[in-house]
């Protein structure tokens, strides 16, 4: 068989994998609607889905569970994608969505809002009594977002002055992260115990804070990022050969790195600002995808996004099931769920040489 025919066969296989994952995401997200602390029966859920249930049930499905499931999909895809792009863009397997200090800056912003501007801003999800008005003040999210973006612009600005080499960007991110962490520590040291606990609770990632409005904002950023990343899949592939070689293949390496770091960080900033810190998705999903499907970005970009959705949907369902009444922090669940799988993949014999 000619190499093109073989290639087409492989493409079909990849297409099947992507289609199956998409199906899994759809099925899982549908199933997620049936799980929750209200202990609604399947029949009640189905009725509510068609808006034929009781008022309370309709609202639970459409105003609590639906935005939450959508948030899991959007944020899962976004965080996993930005992890993948950071890893390729910075040529560093340990890079993650928070490499540029985005998460730490967001946490600082939120702490500032909660502790200094005396709390009360904590977004707690949809208000069932007033469900068509997004009843939550966005101030904490806004502060978190402002600081996250500030941090990104600072690093990218500094690096465009001096050097855009991956090592420098990673180190600058590390330095700035520790500045934000230190500043957060100071804030927390002077906080009242109420402020402190509110601030700490904020930093646990929680999908329950999502509303349709936040979902829409996150989705816009994630979709723009996805389109840009996918369009430039070959450019990212070329980057795997090293900066110098990529340049000789006609790639504008610095511009590509700048735009993709900016987009990846923005995705993270938006997700973290609305939902809090959800760690490890951005490390696990890209690595598992790369191990199983290879590094071709034409495939790894959609597969990573889908695996991020799957992981976060699973983690959120689990957090709502085992928390009996109160959802456990989903960030902790992603790590608990993902890390063993991750370790198994790393240490399995499939080290592997497949792509």
């Amino acid at each position: 068989m000619g190499s093109i025919a073989l290639l087409q066969k492989k493409r079909r296989k990849q297409f099947v994998v992507i289609a199956m994952m998409l199906l899994a995401v759809l099925v899982l997200s549908f199933l997620c609607l049936f799980v929750g602390s209200a202990n609604m029966s399947i029949k009640q859920c189905l009725q509510a889905l068609m808006k034929k249930g009781t008022n309370a049930h309709n609202r639970i499905i459409w105003n609590i569970r639906m935005p939450r499931v959508l948030a899991a999909m959007v944020a899962g895809a976004g965080l996993a994608l930005s992890g993948l792009i950071m890893q390729t863009g910075l040529n560093n397997a340990m890079a993650s969505p928070s490499t540029l200090g985005v998460s730490n800056a967001a946490v600082f912003g939120a702490n500032l809002s909660i502790i200094v501007f005396s709390g009360g801003f904590l977004s707690t999800g949809n208000n069932p009594n007033n469900w068509d008005v997004g009843a939550n003040p966005y101030s904490t999210s806004l502060m978190a977002f402002v600081f996250a973006v500030l941090s990104v612009l600072l690093i990218l600005g500094l690096c465009s002055l001096r050097s855009f080499s991956p090592g420098v960007v990673v180190l600058a991110g590390l330095a700035l992260s520790s500045v934000w962490t230190a500043a957060t520590t100071f804030l927390q040291y002077y906080a009242t115990d109420v402020g402190l606990s509110a601030a700490v609770v904020w930093s646990f990632g929680d999908l329950g804070r999502a509303t349709y409005r936040t979902d829409t904002i996150m989705a816009i950023v994630v979709v723009i990022g996805f389109i840009y990343f996918r369009l430039n899949a070959w450019q990212f592939n070329a980057l795997l050969s090293g900066d110098a070689t990529a340049r000789t293949m006609g790639i504008r390496v610095d511009a590509l790195r700048f735009v993709s770091m900016l987009l990846a960080s923005l995705i993270t900033a938006v997700c973290v600002s609305f939902l809090g810190v959800i760690g490890f998705v951005g490390i696990i999903c890209p690595h598992v995808t790369k191990k199983i499907m290879g590094q071709d970005h034409r495939v790894s970009i959609p597969v990573t996004a889908l695996s991020g959705m799957l992981l976060l949907l699973l983690a959120d369902t689990l957090s709502r099931t085992i928390g009996s009444g109160s959802a456990l922090p989903v960030g902790a669940i992603t790590s608990l769920l993902g890390a063993p799988f991750f370790l198994a993949i790393i240490f399995s014999g499939k080290e592997n040489r497949k792509c």
């Binding site: 000619g2 190499s3 093109i4 073989l6 290639l7 492989k10 369009l231 430039n232 070959w234 450019q235 592939n237 070329a238 795997l240 050969s241 090293g242 110098a244 070689t245 340049r247 000789t248 293949m249 006609g250 790639i251 504008r252 790369k290 290879g294 590094q295 071709d296 040489r353 497949k354 792509c355």
Partner: protein, 260 residues
């Protein structure tokens, strides 16, 4: 076809220049070998020609056009690079070679690009490798894939940085023969650095000896004498003729370095 005129380059504005007015001329289809000690500026000159660095002074003309004024993509369609430390991601051989065509297709490869890659793989006897993971291949095989990728750029000039640096003798020979064959068949020029003088003689048509950032000697095989080697590398070698080919034998370091 390629002419570097008085190219100067410094990495740091305050630092010493690495290139101090290097000039060389290479014609279409010629194989030029760049020789010189470590640190003489070979790789830096390559990087200037490839557009990875921009010359601080002088000009580089390619088919009469100023290279520094070309966009990266225009340049990539004329000049391809086979680096010393070859890296590939976890991609198949086919995709790795297809990547060479990114300067032609931009965002999405067309069927013509796929066919071009298939043809190159056939020509280089790499068809059976097409679906293998390039990261899992041996050094010699990867070198060959890097050449195939460079060919996919449809260049007029290929630049090799120490193509045999990490290879055993048989692979070294194989790669040089392969490159030479491609250059002759497709009328592509090659500019390569090489450490091994005998391999250089076997590979090149034209030789450029670089010392302290300038091309000190340039010309065909006839210019290579024991004195030239002594001047460039500070070693005494004997040149003997075997079957009308110059062969370099022995060699000891000039001066008494170990007395100090």
């Amino acid at each position: 076809m390629l002419s570097c005129n008085n190219v100067t380059f410094r990495y740091d504005r305050s630092g010493l220049p690495v290139l101090r007015g290097a000039s060389l001329e290479l014609e279409q289809g010629e194989i030029g070998i760049l020789l010189g000690k470590n640190g003489s500026g070979k790789t830096t000159l390559f990087k200037n020609i490839l557009g990875i660095h921009k010359p601080s002074g002088g000009e580089i003309l390619f088919q009469g056009q100023n290279l520094t004024k070309m966009s990266r993509r225009e340049r990539a369609r004329r000049i391809a690079y086979v680096p010393q430390d070859i890296q590939f991601g976890e991609l198949t051989v086919f995709d790795s070679v297809l990547m060479g065509r990114v300067s032609h297709f931009g965002l999405k490869a067309s069927h013509a690009d796929y066919e071009a890659v298939e043809k190159i793989l056939q020509d280089m006897g790499l068809e059976s490798y097409a679906q293998r993971n390039v990261a899992a291949l041996s050094g010699g095989e990867r070198q060959k894939i890097a050449i195939a990728r460079a060919m996919a750029q449809e260049p007029k000039l290929m630049v090799f940085d120490e193509p045999t640096g990490n290879l055993d003798i048989s692979n070294e020979h194989l790669i040089i023969q392969e490159a030479k064959k491609l250059a002759r068949e497709k009328n592509i020029s090659i500019l390569s650095s090489l450490h091994d003088l005998n391999q250089a003689m076997n590979f090149g048509d034209k030789f450029f000896f670089l010392k302290d950032g300038v091309v000190k000697y340039a010309g065909g095989k006839e210019i290579i004498t024991e004195d030239v080697i002594l001047d460039i590398f500070d070693i005494h070698v004997h040149i003997v003729e075997i079957e009308n080919e110059k062969v370099f034998v022995g060699g000891h370091i000039h001066g008494n370095l170990h007395e100090h």
